[in-house]
């Protein structure tokens, strides 16, 4: 762990630097491929909507005593009926002697099979009814209205806070990226889309923007007064910000993903059914994508937009011109100036008490 800290120090000073902003084409390509695959998965396979959205069939089985043992017996009877569409039913007791079993929509044939299987398992009387969705159109419509209003407000908020519309745009692009990828994973995995999934998607919506704002805040800090600087460009400062917040990004992802991972494991591997895995999958994929997109998409994209601004362009040209001059007349730098300005970081102008000659530096820290 000490090594990660040392790593953090080096990132902070700019001794180690990953070129997130400069190699944006690479990250864009990676994301584009994933997004296209996700979108294709959605178009081809679609979502596997749960009873809550589509409605289904409800069987009411009369048994001797309704308790968890007889509920389990009924659930097993449904699984044994040989109707795959009836898999993963919701089973609950109702009153003292009845058990309700909800499955997805079935054909008359399939329903008869399930009824037969239930009767075999000890139900004295089985009735069936069609049930409508609990997640009506109205819920979806209003939630969508809320989302659109929220996105509108958040665009204004980010713009007002950072005084930079480009960051609003980049933040929304990153958000869309995260949501599409999560949706694609749902389509690919065939996990049921339930109200828990919707909750998960909404959580990601908040998390993705939250994470982006944290990173943008550092970018803003580093690029303050950039127009007066003659040593660093906007892109370099943005990249330094990413490197400086990298340790935070890693730590945050780890602490956020550990509980989600545990829930996903419990839901998918141990239990196999139920709402836990639906929620946990959405969160796990979405949070990974959220952290990734803040670093690899949102900031490079915001920087790219910003670099088009004439003032920023002129400033970058000044910086380059100055550097070219220094290369022409090397004062005492023995080492050649790197192609990418890795060595020049914001740290150079600060007091750096830890900077020691290479020979005096300890090993293994």
């Amino acid at each position: 762990m000490g090594r990660i800290s040392t790593f953090g120090q080096h990132l902070y000073e700019g001794r180690i630097s990953f070129d997130f902003v400069g190699r944006r084409k690479l990250w864009y390509s990676i994301s584009a491929i994933i997004v296209v695959v996700a979108a294709l998965a959605f178009v081809v396979r679609g979502f596997n909507y749960g009873v809550e959205f589509k409605g289904g069939v409800e069987f009411t089985a009369t048994v001797k005593t309704a308790n968890s043992a007889s509920s389990d017996a009924m659930a097993k009877a449904v699984e044994d009926s040989g109707v795959p569409e009836a898999g993963d039913p919701t089973v609950q007791t109702s009153g003292s002697d009845r058990i309700r079993i909800q499955t997805r929509a079935l054909t008359q044939d399939q329903a008869s099979k399930v009824t037969e299987s239930l009767t075999k398992a000890g139900a004295t009387d089985v009735s069936q009814q069609l049930v409508g969705p609990t997640y009506g159109k109205q819920v979806a419509k209003k939630a969508l209205t809320g989302l659109i209003v929220f996105l509108f407000i958040v665009v204004i908020f980010i713009w007002a806070y950072f005084r930079e519309w480009r960051m609003s745009v980049a933040g929304i692009v990153a958000l869309a990226h995260d949501l599409i990828i999560t949706g694609g994973v749902y389509a690919l995995s065939g996990f049921e889309v339930t109200p828990a999934t919707v909750t998960g998607l909404l959580t990601i919506l908040g998390y993705s923007l939250y994470d982006t704002v944290v990173v943008f805040d550092k970018v803003r800090e580093n690029t303050k007064g950039i127009l007066k600087s003659t040593s660093k460009t906007y892109a370099e400062q943005a990249n330094l910000a990413l490197n400086q917040t990298l340790v935070r990004s890693i730590n945050t992802s780890v602490t956020a993903l550990l509980p989600v991972g545990a829930l996903l494991f419990a839901g998918a591997a141990i239990l196999g059914t139920g709402p836990l895995k639906d929620l946990a999958l959405a969160l796990f994929v979405g949070m990974l994508a959220g952290t990734y997109s803040s670093i690899f998409i949102a900031t490079p994209f915001a920087s790219q937009l910003k670099e088009r601004e004439p003032a920023i362009k002129a400033q970058a040209a000044r910086v380059m011109a100055k550097r070219a001059k220094q290369v022409d007349a090397p004062v005492e730098t023995a080492a050649p100036v790197a192609h990418r300005p890795v060595a020049s970081s914001g740290a150079s102008k600060r007091t750096q008490p830890s900077r020691q000659p290479r020979s005096k530096r300890g090993k293994g820290h």
Partner: protein, 545 residues
């Protein structure tokens, strides 16, 4: 920079903040204990969170549409489902489920035991109309008289030919002001009124918008002949429960939409000189028939009429979400068991605990001594979340479903981000050569704005979704807002003061090997943190002790 020694005098005293905050949490727990003392035997203990349908079961109510009002169609049933859903989930935190069944039923599943009057609250048609009072102060007949012949006459007349002005005139100057063509109808109405029995339990009348109506106020027994509806319930823009401090009465304040508001202005203007009355009719019953005291131009009206706090709230909810397109009757209600096996809850909780333990281990390995601060903060956040869930469960029916519990666990994990942002800032400042005490303050100033900005996004999401969405999505928004606020409270009132205090200790202040702030751990080679501070800021070293 706000961290010069001079400014530190203005900083809040960390010890006091910490003590007050912890005392506040303990007070909340005390409140739960008090509520628990007050609970009667048989009630659930206040120490147990209210669990949702999936974990604890609840009550299942079946409402069946009555066929007397024409055909029960699917669009009508779906619309009724949506409206009932909004009424049941008005606060958005009880996680009740509403669905349709068999083409003519609406099923409502509510967590917990059956509450009295719930069918009335959610299943009532709530068709509200404003009508003019054509004849007032009639008394109830002793015996019911068959008036179907009169009804036929009334039904046979085209009342839509009567203009609003004529209707108003009929009230202010007398029924003779109405056109001749409708006079037979008036005679029929008067006969109907003479034979009208006002039963205190409620009256059965067919309330048709376009026709005049004979009905009564069951509280006073006053029978009235009313004009065709002048303003429909669908013209209501918003409805809110209110407490009128002057009359010490609960009322329902309604606001009308543009067109309804215009008509209301015309009506009240015309009625005010003689203080004539208008009636507000709900499901065929007069709930109030005030005399007009002033022309109302803003479309705001107050409905009075011996409301209790809960009945005024119920009516406001019913009016707000609109009238049901169908009339429903209760078809059965029964207790239902949980839909998820107990293993799901246990597995979920176990996974959550394991996940959080992993977080703790990671924080300790990475942040060492500071990791303890994170653990403490997470514990405080958990304790605060738990007590608020208990109190909100009691106060406004906040229930926990399994996804809800999972969401809270995850939210607590995300809360850790605020601490991480803060600690990374402190470490950055230490790397810049500040002494720990100064680094804490400087790091805090920077971390604070980041934390607030990021949390503001979450709060915005919670607020907009809570305002615009309905049903379960609203419940999610509530939980998101709650956990985000907890995050802000904990980091401002617990983590920051605690770190400020710890920075004064020898262990952290001088960068002990296990504190997580020693030079080697930060990757600063060769020197101890205090020495770095001394060399960088020689004047401030005297304060590090």
């Amino acid at each position: 920079m706000a961290n010069t020694p001079k400014n530190r005098g203005n900083l809040p005293r960390p010890r006091r903040t910490l003590v007050l905050f912890l005392a506040a949490i303990i007070a909340l727990y005390g409140l739960v204990a008090l509520i628990n003392l007050d609970t009667k035997k048989g009630d659930d203990s206040a120490w147990k969170p209210k669990l949702g349908l999936d974990l604890e079961g609840g009550t299942r109510i079946t409402l069946e549409a009555k066929a007397n009002e024409g055909k029960v169609t699917k669009p009508k049933l779906d619309q009724a489902r949506d409206i009932i859903d909004q009424r049941v989930n008005a606060t958005g935190v009880s996680e009740a489920e509403v669905t349709t069944q068999s083409g003519n039923q609406v099923i409502i599943e509510i967590p917990g035991e059956r509450k009295a009057g719930i069918v009335d609250q959610v299943g009532k048609t709530a068709q509200m109309r404003f009508r003019l009072v054509w004849t007032q102060n009639l008394t109830s007949a002793a015996k019911k008289v068959d008036t179907s012949a009169q009804q036929k006459i009334i039904d046979g007349i085209d009342w839509s030919k009567v203009s609003l002005d004529q209707m108003i005139k009929a009230e202010t100057t007398g029924l003779a002001a109405l056109p001749k063509s409708v006079q037979p109808g008036i005679a029929a109405l008067q006969k109907q009124a003479a034979g009208f029995v006002c039963t205190p339990g409620g009256v059965q009348v067919e309330d048709v918008s376009s026709k005049p109506l004979v009905t009564c106020d069951t509280k006073t027994g006053e029978v009235q002949i009313l004009s065709p509806a002048v303003i429909e319930g669908s013209e209501v823009k918003s409805a809110n429960q209110q407490y009128n401090t002057q009359t010490a009465q609960w009322t329902v304040q309604i606001k009308l939409k543009g067109k309804g508001s215009d008509v209301f202005e015309t009506v009240t203007k015309a009625l005010t000189p003689a203080q004539n009355r208008f009636a507000i009719v709900l499901d065929g019953e007069i709930i109030t028939a005030p005399s007009s005291q002033a022309a109302i131009t803003n479309g705001v009206s107050e409905i009075t009429g011996s409301f209790t706090p809960s009945s005024s709230k119920a009516l406001a909810n019913q009016l707000k979400y609109g009238a049901l397109p169908l009339t429903f009757g209760l078809n059965g209600s029964e207790e239902i068991g949980p839909s998820l096996a107990g293993t799901q809850l246990h597995a979920g909780l176990l996974a959550g605990v394991i996940g959080l333990i992993l977080v703790v281990v990671y924080c300790l390995l990475y942040y060492r001594g500071l990791g303890l601060v994170i653990i403490g903060s997470l514990l405080v956040a958990s304790a605060l979340t738990f007590v608020l869930v208990l109190l909100l469960g009691k106060g406004m029916g906040f229930t926990l479903t399994l996804p809800g519990i999972a969401g809270l666990i995850v939210a607590i994990g995300i809360t850790a981000d605020s601490f991480i942002v803060f600690f990374e800032r402190i470490r950055d400042e230490v790397r810049d050569g500040k002494s720990l005490r100064l680094a804490v303050e400087a790091g805090w100033v920077r971390a604070r704005s980041t934390i607030l900005a990021a949390d503001a996004v979450s709060i915005l999401a919670a607020l907009t979704l809570f305002i615009f969405a309905i049903g379960v999505v609203r419940g999610f928004a509530f939980a998101l807002g709650l956990t985000t606020l907890i995050d802000v409270f904990v980091v401002f009132l617990f983590t920051k003061p605690l770190v400020s205090l710890l920075a004064r200790t020898k262990f952290f202040g001088q960068g002990h090997k296990l504190s997580g702030l020693d030079a080697a751990h930060l990757g600063i080679t060769g020197r101890r943190v205090t020495e770095i501070a001394r060399s960088a800021e020689p004047r401030t070293t005297g304060e590090v002790n």
